[in-house]
């Protein structure tokens, strides 16, 4: 099983090691350990690519949609699960994609 998990781990490891490499080293996409650790890559991403702003945006979308889904869908689901008549059957079958 551990051997099989390498299929998942190796690509992820390449990316992880690549995040500490210089541009020239990273394009080779090899599993070599970085020659020197470049933590400034992370600094660049935060300062120049504004990744924090992007994360906040993702967070806003996620929170809003999860809140709406959980509240409204559970409200609807309660009705649909409890009622057993033709109106329910109609609404249920039309909501499925």
């Amino acid at each position: 099983m551990w051997l099989l998990s390498l299929i998942v781990l190796i690509p992820l490891a390449i990316v992880f090691f690549g995040s500490f490499k210089t541009q020239a080293e990273a394009v080779a996409f090899s599993l070599k350990l970085p020659e020197s650790r470049h933590f400034e890559n992370y600094k660049t991403v935060i300062e120049e690519a504004h990744i924090l702003r992007a994360m906040i945006n993702s967070l806003i979308i996620t929170i809003a949609s999860v809140a709406v889904c959980v509240l409204f869908s559970s409200m609807g689901a309660f009705v649909l699960a409890r009622k057993k008549n033709w109106q329910k059957a109609f609404i249920y079958s039309s909501i499925w994609e």
Binding site: V8, G76, F78, V79, R82, K83, I95
Partner: protein, 294 residues
Amino acid sequence: MNKKKRMNNSLYSYKLLLPILFLYVVFFVLPTIMGLGYSFTNWRADRDELEFIGFNNFTRIFKDRTILLALKNTFIYTVFTVLGKNIAGLVLATLLNIQFRSKNILRGIFYLPSILSTVAIGVVFTSILHPTGPLNDLLGRIGLEVLQQNWLDNRQIVMYSIGGVAIWMMAGYHMTIYLAGYQSIPADYYEAARIDGANALQRFFCISIPMLRASFNMNIMLSLIAGLKVFTEVFVMTGGGPGNASQVLSTLIYKSFGNGSWGLGTAMNIILSVVVSILTVPLLLRMRREEVES
């Protein structure tokens, strides 16, 4: 009984349905109906007024060879990924359902790719599948030069390469659904079968497979819809290339919207929804029937 029924009706009033029904109608039903209308017009980015042109969009689409190729590619991709994701997921779930010490961490590892962004995975795999990338390098080192391929530039195999990446990504996701199904199988069945002398293979085919039926339905449904609607993987890794060799329905729709032919794009979208419905509705009905039976 009658009293109880009345209480139910008052407790779970239809008013509770209104918010979700409102959202559903505004964001799904109305756009769909409007889209159906627009698909019969020559709506374009550079035109101010719309004209009704009947089925012209549809005849134009079906005269075009690209969309037939896209349909074929979509089907190849769907069949390949549905089979691949489900077989890989089932095998992983079966192996990780055995009790051993590191099973939880391994489950986590296999699930990991499916929570990553498809775009990021696509970019990474474009480099991995590059002719001089790590995959060909590895195949060369273990003496399998025969298998070295131009993964994303060979017209014959490009759909399978993209499908392979999708399988790599989603196998763990389907594994979790199968694992959940495994947990609901009572252990006595296996015990009884073992006492009767059934071997591991017989136990798998005669107990696990039939008992996992609900998980099979769910997984096939999800992977079928994902396969037919595939966009991100193809768009990031090849953009439909080389030429049009890996064009699927969604990327063609995107392309025609990008060209400004909005009417044509909506018409294609209608075709995509029809294809998805034809394939998924029978499956859904079957699932519903089984739900009632059980």
